[in-house]
């Protein structure tokens, strides 16, 4: 179990991480997700020991490793640009760590072969790094880290340099490898889809802080911040005012004068408070516009985007022409076209209430 306790990292002028705390369980696939510059790679480097912590503690199984140099920590890293040694061949790269640990040569050979098998690169032992493709380098980097049997494997955007098809393949491989080995993986990425597809839990980061930690479903369905909602998927926002609050329910008034009730999750609003309401595009119920019918929003479809399995539509509101609302449908069910006038409603439970930002 790895725990990060109130870790702060300051560079001369800039604060890269501020009071970050999190716990990663053994055998978990944990992702650090955020835009570039949010501090996710810095956090990974602090865990690896490649950078020093300014304040706070990094603990592994209850013991502080905060001031241990990287060579003595039981973690290994797969670097973003792979960082393979160009002067060594595949075998020498993978055995680099074992040699330093003075592992006997027959055991070393067996372990290297085994880890090459794991990444499906048997027979590549004598190849020079320059002669490998991006995907192969990626696998060698993975094998080089795994061969040391790290207690935690740290992955710093390892797939971002690969093309889409290869990336999908590697995602599947990485996930099945992790499930097979029951290793703890900490995975840094800026790709929300990748994080959702791979992780047991995700920490969403921005500006050196962790905004939310949760399973992919929690983070998607019940984001705690507007930033999280926007970062992990498509989101519609509109603002409302709280009228009544009970422990389970809130009554909220918004633009078109309607009032809804919603299940309250982590955020308990106060009466009179301004709040942001979030609806994911796929949650809308869409009907043809009829006079006198009850709906939340009414408008005209102005844009239609085909995305394979899904189609996205942008609706220009009748009441406020500057505001757009997006909804999506699975393509085979789609029966709308540009110019259609539609009414949108939503189940109150599918609305997320967020503090106003």
């Amino acid at each position: 179990m790895l725990s990060i306790e109130k870790v702060t990292k300051k560079y001369e002028e800039m604060t890269a991480l501020e009071q970050v705390s999190l716990v990663v369980q053994e055998g978990e696939f944990f992702s650090l997700l955020g835009p570039s510059g949010c501090g996710k790679s810095t956090l990974l480097r602090l865990i690896a020991g490649l950078d020093t912590v300014s304040e706070g503690e990094v603990k592994f199984n209850g013991e502080s490793v905060t001031h241990l140099p990287p060579e003595t920590r039981p973690f290994n890293t797969v670097f973003q640009n792979y960082a393979l040694f160009p002067h060594l061949n595949v075998y020498e790269n993978i055995s680099f760590g074992l040699k330093l640990k003075k592992v006997p040569s027959d055991e070393m050979e067996a372990r290297v072969r085994h880890s090459l098998e794991k990444v499906q690169l048997s027979g590549y032992e004598d190849r020079l790094i320059d002669t490998l493709s991006g995907g192969q380098k990626q696998r060698v980097a993975l094998a080089r880290a795994l061969v040391n049997r790290p207690k935690i494997l740290l992955l710093d955007e390892p797939l971002s340099a690969l093309d889409l098809k290869l990336r999908k393949q590697m995602q599947t491989d990485l996930r099945s490898l992790q499930q097979q080995l029951h290793h703890t993986f900490i995975f840094v990425t800026h790709d929300q889809e990748e994080a959702m597809a791979l992780s047991d839990r995700i920490a969403v980061m921005d500006h050196g802080k962790i905004l939310q930690i949760g399973t992919p479903q929690e983070v998607y369905d019940h984001p705690t911040h507007r930033f999280v909602a926007e970062f992990v998927g498509h989101a519609n926002f509109f603002s409302g005012t709280v009228k009544e609050v009970s422990p389970e329910q809130a009554k909220i008034e918004f633009g078109s004068g309607e009032i809804i009730h919603s299940k309250i999750r982590r955020f308990l609003p106060e009466v009179g408070q301004q709040v942001d309401l979030l609806v994911r595009p796929e949650k809308w119920k869409v009907f043809p516009l009829e006079e006198g019918a009850h709906s939340w929003f009414e408008g005209t479809i102005v844009q239609r985007t085909y995305r394979g399995a899904f189609e996205y539509f942008s609706v220009q509101q009748i009441q406020d022409k500057n505001r757009m609302i997006d909804f999506s449908l699975s393509s085979h069910a789609s029966r709308w076209s540009i110019g259609d006038r539609v009414a949108l409603t939503c189940v109150p439970e599918d609305v997320v209430i967020l503090p106003h930002e």
Binding site: L50, P70, E71, N81, A83, F85, G97, N148
Partner: protein, 282 residues
């Protein structure tokens, strides 16, 4: 039309060819042919085919001079590396502004005449030079140390002249060195010693080889520094050859030694080149 352009295009390519032909290839053929002639009684040349000059080069006197020159060139290259590596490392790690400043410092000696530089070293190390005077003023010495005409003076002069040839290729190799490799090595358990000897130095091997060649080859034939700083007693192959042309006037013997020096240099380069190719094949 296109043929005409092709012809026109080839003229710029001809210029370097003509240059090499007149200033390198023809003089070299000249040198090669002179080496098979004989010295006339008054330093003239007797156009009579023989290999007497080559036979003479195998005399132990000359062989030992050749070996001494190889030794000097090797020591120069090694010392330049030992000094140059930390310098190159420092330049690479400096801020961009400082980097430029350090590079200019390294390059300034190139802008001064090499003979002037050799004499400057001589003055610097001389009996009345700053080093000896400083030590005497401190009371640590009563007599100046006779650096000049000592091997140390020659070595000092050689290293200070050839250091830039080592620093620049090392610098450019280090500049291209991927620093994340250091992170990777540390992550895999490497300590400073392992990082330097198992990752850093092997990764910049080609830069080190270039530096060695750039220092070793000209150092082998150097004649100004040994003659200014080493005095008449310290004869190296460069001084020996220049003496054959300028003092003794034995052009055939000088040519024979030039030819042999050239052959040995090519052999050394071929060995290094082969090492590289072998590596590339793997």
């Amino acid at each position: 039309m296109s043929r005409w352009i092709q012809k026109g295009m080839s003229i710029p390519y001809l210029i370097p060819f003509i240059w090499f032909l007149f200033f390198l290839i023809i003089p070299l053929i000249w040198v090669l042919s002179y080496s098979f002639f004989k010295r006339g009684p008054y330093g003239t040349i007797d156009f009579e085919w023989n290999i007497a000059s080559y036979v003479r080069t195998f005399d132990w006197v000359y062989l030992s001079i050749f070996l001494k020159s190889v030794q000097l060139a090797l020591i120069t290259a090694i010392c330049s590396f030992i000094l140059g590596f930390p310098i190159a490392l420092m330049i690479v790690r400096a801020t961009p502004k400082r980097k430029l400043f350090y590079l200019i410092l390294i390059l300034v000696p190139f802008w001064t005449n090499f003979i002037v530089r050799a004499f400057a070293v001589k003055v610097f190390l001389g009996d009345y030079g700053p080093i000896n005077q400083f030590l005497i003023d401190l009371g640590w010495l009563s007599e100046p140390i006779p650096f000049t005409h000592h091997f140390l003076a020659v070595g000092f002069g050689m290293v200070s002249s050839y250091l830039p040839f080592m620093v620049l290729p090392l610098y450019s190799a280090l500049e291209g060195f991927d620093r994340s490799l250091v992170d990777a090595a540390r992550d895999l358990g490497a300590r400073s010693y392992d990082i330097i000897f198992k990752v850093l130095l092997p990764s910049i091997k080609e830069g080190i080889q270039s530096g060695f060649i750039l220092v070793f080859v000209p150092a082998l034939g150097e004649f100004v520094i040994p003659s200014v700083l080493g005095g008449a007693k310290r004869v190296y192959i460069g001084t020996l050859i220049s003496d054959q042309f300028l003092k003794t006037r034995d052009w055939p013997f000088g040519s024979a030694m030039t030819t042999l020096l050239l052959i040995w240099t090519f052999v050394a380069l071929a060995v290094v080149g082969r090492m590289r190719r072998k590596r590339a094949k793997l």
